[in-house]
Amino acid sequence: MALDSCTNYSLQEEIQRNCDVNLDTCYECGKCSGGCSNGHIFDFTPRKIIQLIKLGQENTLLHMDALWICVACNICWDRCPSSINIPRIMDYLREKAHQQGITATRPQVETFHRLMLDSIYKRGRVAEVPMMIQYNLAIGNLFNESGMAARMLLKGKLRPVLTSVKQIQTVRQMFNNPKKKEG
C-alpha cells in the first residue's frame, strides 16, 4: 500500500489515550480479521487498520470504507489475544471523520445515524415511523421499503403513538457539550 504523504506520528498515542487501548500489545496475528463479520468486504482488515494507525496513516484511515460497514459485533475485541478494543477504535475514527466533515463512503449509513441522533435530540427517544420517513426523504426515495412498511403496519408494528422524555432539556444539553462540534 502506498504510504500516505500526510503522516500523523502522534496518531497512535492519540488513539491509545482516547480509546483506552495499547496497540503495542498487538501480535499482528490476524485473528481479528479472520473472524470479522464483514472482513471479506473491508478494504482494510482490522489488523491492517491497527498497522495503519501505527504508521500514522490518518488520511487513509478517515477515508476508508471499513469505517462505515463495521457492524460493531465485537468479535475482534473478544477474540483478540491481547483484548484490544478495536470497536472503540473504529468508533473513534468514525467520529473523527464525521467531525472533520469527511463524506462517508456509505452516505446512507451516516444519514441514518444522524437522523437517529436528531430524533433523540427532539424527543429523547427514537421514533421509528417519522424517522423512516425522514430517511426516505434524505436518500431521495420516498417508497424505499414501503412494501415492507405496509406489512409491518398491518401487523401493528409501526405505531404512530410517540412517547417522549419529559425533561427533554436534560437530554439536549448533552448535545451541546464543548467536545462535540455541530456538523
Binding site: 499482528e28 496475528c29 490476524g30 479472520g34 482488515t45 491492517k48 489475544p81 491481547s82
Partner: protein, 349 residues
C-alpha cells in the same frame, strides 16, 4: 564400592525423572523412583515420533528401562504410587508413599521433583469448538490418532485435509498465558509431517503467527516439512471453526496476503500450550519451594536445578521442555544430589 546409606526420592518417571534416578543410582546411592501412572515414560510415552530426527521415543524408553534393570539393587521403581505426606527432618524428609493398597514410610535425604507439565484446556476457546465438534482435537489426542492410523493404515481412508492451529493457550494474554510454550511449533511440524508420511494426498494447513525453531537442527526440520513434505503454512491465527456439510470450515486471515480466507478440513488439531500440573502445586506446598506466577517451579538463584532445602527439580515441572532438554535437567539434578550426598559423607567422616 556401594553406598546405600543415602537415599534420594525421585517423583515422576518421565525422561527427566528416569535420567536423574539412573545417574544417582549409577553413582552408587539408592533411589526411590515413584510414578503415579501404571506406565513409566510420562509425556514421552504418549508420543509416536520425535523431532528433529523422527526417532521413535519408545525405543529410547526401552533403552532406559533396560538400564534401570541393571541397577535394581540401587533403584526401586514404584508405579501407581504417589507421595501422601512429607515432613522435613534433620538433613532430609520423612515421606509416606502410597499406592492402591499399602503405604510406605521412608526417610529420604534428597528429593527430585520431575512431575512434568500438562496441556492447556482448549475448550476455553469457544470459537474453536473443542469438545463440541468431534473433528476438533488437541495435540495429545492427535498423537493417539496418529498411532492408531499408523497401526491400521490399510483400513483407514485418508482424511481430505487437516488444519493445525498454533498458539492455542500460548501467547494469549486474554487467556492469562502470555508465555510461549516453546515446543508447539516443533511438535506441530512433526505431526503435520507424519500425516504427510502416512497419507501423502492429505492436505495439511498450519495456521501460525511465526514458527519458533531455535535448536540444533530444528529450523532445518521445519523447513524440510514445508519444502519436502509440502505441508502448507498459512501465516495468521485461525479465528473461527464452523461445521459445514459434515466437515469443518476454518476462517482465518492470510496475513501475508492480507485477505480473509476459508479452508474446509476434516480435522482441526489444536497445538495446545503447556501449563503446570495440578499435582505440582501440592508438592510445591509440601516442600515449601518457590514457583513463578504460573505455577512452574523456580530454581534458586545461581543453581540450575535446586528448588529448596534438599529439593531439586528436572523437566517439565520447571517449564515446557523437549525430550533432550528434560534429560539434561535430569542429569543436572542428579549431579546436584550426588554432590550433596558427597558433602554429607565428608561431614560424617
Amino acid at each position: 564400592m556401594q553406598n546405600t546409606a543415602k537415599t534420594a526420592l525421585v517423583i515422576g518417571a518421565g525422561p527427566a525423572g528416569i535420567e536423574a534416578a539412573l545417574k544417582i543410582g549409577q553413582a552408587g546411592y539408592s533411589v526411590i523412583l515413584i510414578e503415579k501412572e501404571k506406565q513409566i515414560g510420562g509425556m514421552v510415552g504418549k508420543l509416536c515420533s520425535s523431532f528433529p530426527r523422527w526417532e521413535n521415543p519408545q525405543e529410547m524408553l526401552d533403552l532406559k528401562t533396560r538400564e534401570l534393570g541393571k541397577f535394581l539393587s540401587n533403584i526401586t521403581l514404584l508405579t501407581n504410587t504417589t507421595l501422601k505426606f512429607c515432613e522435613p527432618v534433620e538433613k532430609g524428609y520423612l515421606v509416606i508413599l502410597e499406592d492402591s493398597d499399602k503405604e510406605l514410610n521412608v526417610k529420604v535425604d534428597a528429593v527430585v521433583l520431575a512431575t512434568g507439565f500438562d496441556l492447556f484446556d482448549a475448550s476455553v476457546y469457544g470459537e474453536y469448538g473443542y469438545g463440541i465438534y468431534p473433528g476438533v482435537m488437541d495435540a495429545l489426542e492427535f498423537e493417539n490418532q496418529l498411532k492408531d492410523w499408523s497401526a491400521h493404515k490399510s483400513q483407514t481412508e485418508a482424511p481430505g485435509a487437516i488444519a493445525f492451529f498454533k498458539c492455542v493457550g500460548s501467547r494469549d494474554r486474554s487467556k492469562g498465558n502470555p508465555y510461549c510454550s516453546k515446543i508447539c511449533c516443533m511438535y506441530t511440524a512433526k505431526q503435520a509431517g507424519l500425516v504427510k508420511e502416512l497419507f501423502p494426498e492429505t492436505k495439511c494447513y498450519v495456521f501460525y503467527m511465526d514458527y519458533r525453531s531455535a535448536g540444533k537442527g530444528y529450523e532445518e526440520f521445519v523447513r524440510s516439512v514445508i519444502e519436502e513434505k509440502h505441508v502448507h503454512y498459512i501465516r495468521g491465527r485461525a479465528s473461527k471453526v464452523l461445521p459445514q456439510n459434515n466437515r469443518l470450515l476454518v476462517r482465518a486471515e492470510d496475513t501475508l496476503m492480507g485477505i480473509p480466507i476459508e479452508v474446509e478440513v476434516d480435522k482441526v488439531v489444536l497445538a495446545t500450550g503447556v501449563i503446570p500440573r495440578k499435582e505440582t502445586a501440592r508438592l510445591v506446598e509440601a516442600f515449601g519451594i518457590n514457583t513463578d506466577q504460573y505455577g512452574f517451579i523456580e530454581s534458586e538463584f545461581g543453581s540450575p536445578a535446586k528448588a529448596g532445602k534438599r529439593v531439586f527439580f528436572a523437566g517439565g515441572c520447571n517449564f515446557a521442555i523437549e525430550l533432550p532438554g528434560a534429560q539434561y535437567q535430569g542429569a543436572a539434578a542428579a549431579a546436584e544430589v550426588i554432590n550433596l550426598f558427597y558433602q554429607d559423607e565428608q561431614e560424617e567422616r
